[in-house]
């Protein structure tokens, strides 16, 4: 009986194994049929284009984050912070975002003095308010109090963020007072900031700022930095005059050698990509790649360093990677804050 029982169990087991094998086989055949049914395109697929840029950025950033000295100074390199947030969006690894958040906390704890020279507008206010609302509001109020107005865009964006997140009327008043000082055309950089912050503010101040942005002084320079400002104006307004100016700068830049300083190289890549988006002319994407290939060998081969301009270059390489592979679920931050 035992024998029979065990034999029957063995047979049962064998039957089960056979049955599951059969099911597996059937499932395989079914899946293969479905797959075949789904993929039997009538022409051969085109190979996926190569993009070595993002893997190099990951490698560089990983090394950067392991270096204590670099990590403590990250807050001074705004585009690296923007790269870090983008890397978390792309990889879902929190460590990049966490590093950037830590840097923001350091930044918020160090309000600039009245004399400090400001180089760029601060574009990470939304994240600052998300991670530490009180410190962010305090910082923005200190900007108003210290009258840190040597970079109008920095001042305007601090006040506008303060109003948008804290609805503190003091910020509105500060903006009103500040903009009433503008007589005549404003530089293009200020126009960008006026137009940007106008979207966060109530009327009639919003219209006043938009009008200021409209009254932008003529800029004849066709260098890459100016080109990127035209890109910003074009992509936010759709005006064809800005488009033509951006295209002219990009066309001029097509003739440029690739051996450029990191900041110019970063602007060149982003400028060519903007022209690619706008014209769908392959030569712009090709030139962006040429600049980027040079950048990899010159600036991303050695030990990571927080060299000025490399953050902008890194941002442009992320942007290029997303363009080459047509990735849009994660957006690249616009490379337009060096002004």
């Amino acid at each position: 009986m035992n024998k029979n029982y065990s034999s029957s169990r063995r047979e049962e087991a064998h039957f089960k194994v056979r049955a599951s094998l059969r099911r597996l086989l059937l499932a395989f055949v079914f899946s293969a049929t479905c797959l075949q049914a789904a993929t039997n395109a009538l022409v051969a697929p085109v190979p996926v284009p190569s993009s070595p840029y993002l893997p190099r950025i990951y490698k560089y950033v990983d090394a950067l984050l392991e270096d204590g000295a670099s990590k403590t100074n990250l807050h001074k390199h705004q585009n690296w912070l923007r790269v870090l947030y983008t890397l978390t969006d792309l990889s879902t690894k929190a460590k990049y975002r966490d590093a950037a958040d830590s840097a923001l906390r350091v930044w918020l704890a160090n309000v600039p003095s009245a004399e400090e020279r400001i180089e760029r507008p601060w574009m990470l206010w939304d994240r600052c308010f998300q991670i530490d609302r009180a410190a962010s509001e305090q910082f923005a109020l200190a900007v108003v109090k210290n009258q840190i107005t040597n970079h109008p865009g920095f001042y305007l964006r601090a006040c506008a963020a303060g109003y948008a997140h804290a609805t503190n009327a003091a910020f509105l008043k500060a903006i009103e007072t500040f903009v009433s000082g503008f007589k005549g055309p404003v530089p293009m950089s200020v126009a960008i900031d006026c137009d940007g912050v106008a979207r966060l503010l109530p009327e009639p101040l919003a219209s006043r700022l938009t009008a200021l942005a409209e009254n932008q002084s003529a800029t004849l320079a066709r260098n890459t930095a100016t080109g990127m400002m035209y890109v910003s104006r074009y992509e936010n307004t759709g005006r064809t005059a800005f488009r033509e100016a951006a295209h002219a700068a990009a066309n001029e830049n097509l003739k440029s050698p690739t051996d450029l300083p990191p900041l110019t190289l970063g602007h060149s890549i982003s400028l060519q990509l903007a022209a690619w988006r706008s014209t769908a002319r392959q030569e712009h994407l090709d030139k962006a790649r040429a600049f980027a290939d040079f950048a990899l060998t010159k600036y991303f081969d050695g030990a990571p360093q927080l060299e000025p301009g490399v953050d902008t270059l890194a941002l442009s390489l992320v942007e290029l990677h997303l363009h080459i592979l047509y990735i849009t679920a994660v957006r690249y931050p616009p490379n337009t804050l060096d002004r």
């Binding site: 049914a37 697929p45 940007g196 979207r199 009327e203 005006r239 988006r277 849009t328």
Partner: protein, 471 residues
């Protein structure tokens, strides 16, 4: 394809490109003049339609199908020689062209509102040529592109017809049939191509629905061979299928279509109830209500009851979008499976037109108010569709309230949209940060909204199709 025909084709493309460039130069002059006075939205829409008819139809490859291309180079008014940069939020595999190469696809699903515009332009202008182009497109597409084995069509979310190679293609790696939005031209399709329309409706039942007893399906179905699976049955797709079969039933009285509707309805009557006993909205009310107007009484009553229950389940979420504003859709930024606040307004408008339920009316007015003096946030790659829905929301609010402020907002947004998307070109671009023409981002819906503003401004008696199908 042999070298001779390739050379001939290249020559044809070059000649057409030269002609197109001349036309573009003329169009640019007139466009500059007329876009600066962009109050005349009919001019903008007609120029778009005329340009598509003249330069945007398939005259390439061995078969000159006449299909409207779903993407074009705006600088040459000819097919793109590359796969251009993607508008923000557009997935690689959803675009009208083969992956990693020149984008030459025609996808009537993506151009549906353009086809509706063509029919409407004939009514407004009295010119029959617009209707003919739309009719030709539907006829050719249904008669020539259908899969011989599944009767599914190369359209929708992933598939299109390559106008140069003359084959069905996918934007990604797989030939997957999936609706992109409801198809609302069934009446016309059954009038033009009744057999092919019926075949598609049957193919949808046979090859998209995996389990006829349970109604189990996946929104993806293989185009070339039979191979449906019971997988991700996104509920809104059930609505798209029901919206197909009700017309098929109406035209053929083949009972298989009632069986198909009943099968999916029963599935979601069951699936509506969650494991914890709570209930959630599923298919939505629109197609159920639509079908109820065509099917026999017993099934119609069930469909109407289902639709009413969907209202009850959906309305609190919609109110919440406006009351709490947490997790509310953005005003301007669209993306895959991420629409704007105004697209919710468009759903409300569609449902209000079916039911005149005051709850939907109130919501539409509130949505419209949220767009007062609004414009896209800084650096957002806004789509034409986002503008189109915002404009149509204002027009709907105007129709409901007769308050001039809504019409004035619609006109303001319309002018802004023309300046941003049309610029100095007869065709609108795909988004604020790209330069080519590509209808996946709703150029057709924006143009339709401009027609609505034109009709409302001039009190036109002509009905304008509702801009409510992007869902």
């Amino acid at each position: 394809m042999n070298r001779r025909s390739t050379t001939a084709k290249t020559r044809t493309i070059r000649t057409r490109s030269l002609i197109a460039l001349c036309a573009l130069a003329i169009a640019a002059c007139t466009a500059t003049a007329s876009t600066s006075a962009t109050n005349d939205f009919l001019v903008v829409v007609r120029r778009y339609a005329d340009t598509m008819i003249e330069y945007g139809r398939d005259t390439y490859g061995p078969q000159k199908s006449g299909l409207l291309l779903s993407a074009l180079d705006r600088t040459t008014l000819s097919p793109l020689k590359v796969r251009p940069a993607a508008p923000g939020g557009i997935r690689r595999g959803d675009r009208p062209g083969r992956a990693w190469t020149a984008m030459n696809g025609a996808n009537p699903h993506l151009d549906q509102n353009l086809l509706r515009i063509l029919y409407t332009l004939s009514e407004i202008t009295g010119e029959k040529r617009y209707t003919k182009v739309a009719d030709d497109e539907l006829t050719w597409f249904f008669q020539n592109t259908m899969s011989p084995k599944t009767s599914l069509l190369p359209w929708g979310e992933h598939l299109s017809w390559d106008t140069v190679l003359d084959i069905p293609i996918s934007g990604g790696d797989e030939m997957m049939h999936e609706f992109a939005r409801p198809w609302v031209l069934w009446e016309r399709c059954f009038a033009l191509v009744p057999e092919a329309s019926t075949k598609f409706a049957i193919g949808l039942w046979e090859h998209q629905i995996a389990n006829h007893k349970t109604g189990g399906f996946d929104r993806h179905a293989a185009y070339f061979e039979h191979g449906p699976i019971d997988g991700k049955d996104f509920p809104r797709h059930a609505g798209f299928y029901i919206g197909t079969w009700c017309y098929a039933w109406k035209q053929t009285t083949n009972k298989v279509f009632l069986e198909a509707i009943e099968s999916l309805l029963a599935r979601f009557e069951r699936k509506r109830r969650q494991k914890d006993g709570s209930e959630v909205g599923t298919i939505g009310p629109l197609e159920c209500h639509l079908a109820a107007e065509m099917v026999p009484d017993l099934l119609a009553a069930r469909l109407l009851a289902f639709a009413q229950k969907e209202d009850e389940l959906i309305l609190p979420d919609l109110r919440n979008q406006l009351d709490v504003r947490t997790n509310a859709p953005p005003l301007w930024q669209s993306g895959y499976s991420a629409s704007t606040l105004a697209s919710s307004a468009m759903f409300c408008w569609a449902r209000y037109q079916q039911t005149t339920n005051a709850a939907y009316r109130d919501l539409i007015l509130r949505y419209a108010d949220r767009y007062t003096d609004s414009r896209p946030d800084e650096d957002v790659d806004a789509w034409p569709m986002s503008f189109g829905h915002a404009i149509s929301t204002q027009v709907a609010a105007f129709k409901l309230s007769r308050q001039p402020k809504y019409l004035s907002q619609a006109q303001r947004l319309g002018r802004m949209a023309v300046e941003i998307f049309w610029q100095d070109n007869p065709l609108p671009r795909a988004s604020m940060q790209t330069g080519h023409y590509e209808t996946i981002t709703g150029a057709d819906s924006l143009a339709l909204s401009l027609l609505e503003v034109h009709a409302a401004t001039h009190n036109l008696p002509n009905p304008i199709p509702a801009n409510t199908i992007d869902r």
